[in-house]
Amino acid sequence: MYYNIPNINKHLELIIKYRKIIIFMFSFFAIVSAFLVQPKFLSSDELFWLNDSHEFKKTKMQNFQTYRQSKLIVHVKDFDDVALGDLQKLHSDLLNLEGVQKVSSLFSNDFICNEDNENNSGIVVVLNSKQIDTLKLKKLVKLEHNSYSNVVDKDFKTFYFYINSTKKLDLSKVTIPGKFTYINNISEINWNELSVFAFIFVSILTVLFRILFRNYIAALSAVFLLTISTILTFTAIILLTGIHTIHITMPFITITIGLVEFLYFYYRWHVSQYKTNELNALKKMLNRSMSPAIWTSILTFLGLGSLVFIDSDIIKLLSLSVIISSFMSYILNLTLLPAILSHFTLEHTHVPYAKLGYLITSNEVHYNKKFLFVFLSITYLLAIIGAFSLFSKTHNFFSLQVQNEQIELKIPYEQIDLELINSVKKFTEELQEKFEDEVSEVYSVVTLIESLNEASSETDELSEEAVLQAMFYIDLYDLDKKYFDENALSLTVDLFDINKLELLEWLKNYQNIELYFLDHNSLLSIAKYDQAILLTSSLLFALVIIGSIIAWIFRSYKMAFVGFSVNVVPIIWFGLFVTLFDIPLSLEMLIAMTISLGLASDATIHFAYKYYRLRYFGRSRKHTLEKVFFYAGIPVFIGSVVLISVFASLYFSQIESLQLIGLYSAILISISLITDLFILPVMLLSVDKFETTDKDS
């Protein structure tokens, strides 16, 4: 309990006696682990997501080839014969690139018409854009621009090339006319860039710790501990789960949790140096910090433990990285840290910035209950609205607005006949009716058969005879490979401006025909969306568990409310921020929320533990709060400043996933810090069950 002081004398004696062995053994284990149990940092995180994807497995079961999809946007000054030639050549060059399976552009389009304008001919002609001159092509496209809006803009200056490939493309050897933009949604990990960010992290840590603690011991021991903690955490995760693939963002979770835990211990050692006995600082560091630290680990374990049983590698890894890094940090702070610090004594231990805590205390101790009530009421109102929106209008919450994109689908068949054509036609009509202008065109063998029928007969109605005749023309013009293979039809949906997730969900749940997604962009979006829903629900559940455990630790049901509120406040206000700026909920956001939750729950325990302990021993509310700020507030403040700086620097990364994690985490940690400094102490005062002394008044 919070009023007990653990006896750590024997433990400390052992640590000091074997301190060199301890340092060597941890270093040795870490090095051996780093060499023997190497995680696979995938060059791209797409397979990481796809491994968990039900839709991806479904597609693979059918032996359908899946593709990466990238988009090349080319801007030309004038669409003349020269530009036409260059663009046609570009289309051919792209098709000839290694790994390219399909290129959709204006130059892959087939224009179907009757040979004779007066319709005397019974032969249908299929003209490829390559066979048409600039003027005729412009005329044909202008006639039906809606059908071509995804491949060319109205002004004939911007052309879109959608490339399906099985490999990452190297466009360096392709001559691209005019100005161009290449959009490849799959982020590749750039190890050089990551090394730069690691360097930035170490630099920020060293400079800030040097300024704040006036020594290099803090930074060096932090880097050493965090390195060992990260290596051992991932070794443990790999050995426990057998999952070797590690998401690029996960080390940020372990480093964040490790750093904050380290600071609670180190700071206590730093400020306890003034006593004559050298061991005193180490004793204080251990016996004052170990109890709240183990409770934070237990809290993390119980709060996020249930997530480990969810059948998803990503969620397993996320939750395990938080839980194991928390326990690993605890072990290292109890053994390795005192072994290192026992070699040093400090001269400059004065912390002038501690006065800030006294300033805040003097204001908070006379807090206005009405303000607290109003603030919490607004927060909970927002929480209710948020929860309602999340579960009732899921698509709006997890929106993925896209423009000029494509979705590639396969529809298995046994025989191409009128029945199959009609079912695909019905699907196409339902899709276009549901999404109207948001979907610009749906291309399939049905579109082709309809065009062929329109060109060869006077009726638009499809008959068995018309289908057979169209199939004959498909053979005659070798169009089959474009639209179907031996056992499946290909279907391309051109998206104009749409919430792609809503469409993907609709397609996923479409019952009348079997649909399989081929492009990795769609498969990834579905996988991320599914995981995001699961993780959001799990995070909400974790919040309730955390609140309950805090109530049990402090034997006060009011503390459940404090614990829940302090953890939920950053998430809710961050939710308001993203809603105001219309930012869709994403997995990166949820990882940032997991980090924030880990930090907020740690802060709650450390603050509350110190508060309850000091109040139990009869300190006044004001004095208690001053001490809480001094011993817990400052480490939280320092840790948060370091983390905010590091995460903010990630925003300048080239990898979109890292950019988002950086931005969201920096914002969330900032809100968390404000909550810890201004809301948590006031809430602790409001649920204070101890008797008020004279000094309080």
């Binding site: 319709n119 005397n120 019974g122 032969i123 068995e464 005749q469 199939m471 004959f472």
Partner: protein
């Protein structure tokens, strides 16, 4: 009286229009019809799926069609064509058609005329006229107006 005459006029015009309205044949009926004159058709290709084609050897579109299928081995191995020579009156191809039917290897002659632009013609014999009449009769029943006209059998 005038009103009655006008009414009768409208009624008979309607009846006349209806009787001249093309009666659409079902797909099965169309196939049965083209099959009924199979012996008069010129066979081309070795595929399993039957395709019945009405062409005029002098029609440029028909020539393009025959040229296209003859150049594609897949079109000859997948489909078996029964080619009916059906004259477009304005092209006056009756004598050319007669030359094809009169030759020992009609398909070779037809390909030479249609692809290599060989010029040949004879006055049709009675037997050839019977053949042509049978084709015309079926083509009219099928309302064939364009060349080439293709009917693909399932």
């Amino acid at each position: 009286m005038f009103k009655l005459i006008m009414l009768l006029f409208v009624f008979f015009t309607y009846i006349n229009a209806n009787s001249s309205f093309k009666e659409e044949l079902s797909y099965k009926e169309s196939i049965n019809l083209v099959r009924s004159i199979q012996d008069y058709g010129i066979k081309y290709g070795e595929g399993k799926q039957n395709v019945y084609v009405f062409v005029d050897p002098l029609c440029p579109y028909s020539r393009k069609f025959i040229s296209m299928i003859s150049k594609k081995p897949r079109m000859l191995s997948k489909y078996k064509y029964t080619i009916y020579l059906y004259e477009i009156p304005r092209l006056h191809s009756e004598n050319t058609i007669a030359a094809v039917y009169n030759s020992k290897e009609p398909i070779e002659t037809l390909l030479e005329i249609m692809i290599k632009n060989k010029k040949t013609s004879i006055t049709p014999t009675q037997k050839i006229k019977t053949t042509l009449n049978a084709i015309v009769k079926v083509a009219q029943q099928l309302h064939i107006t364009k060349r080439p006209s293709i009917i693909v059998e399932k």
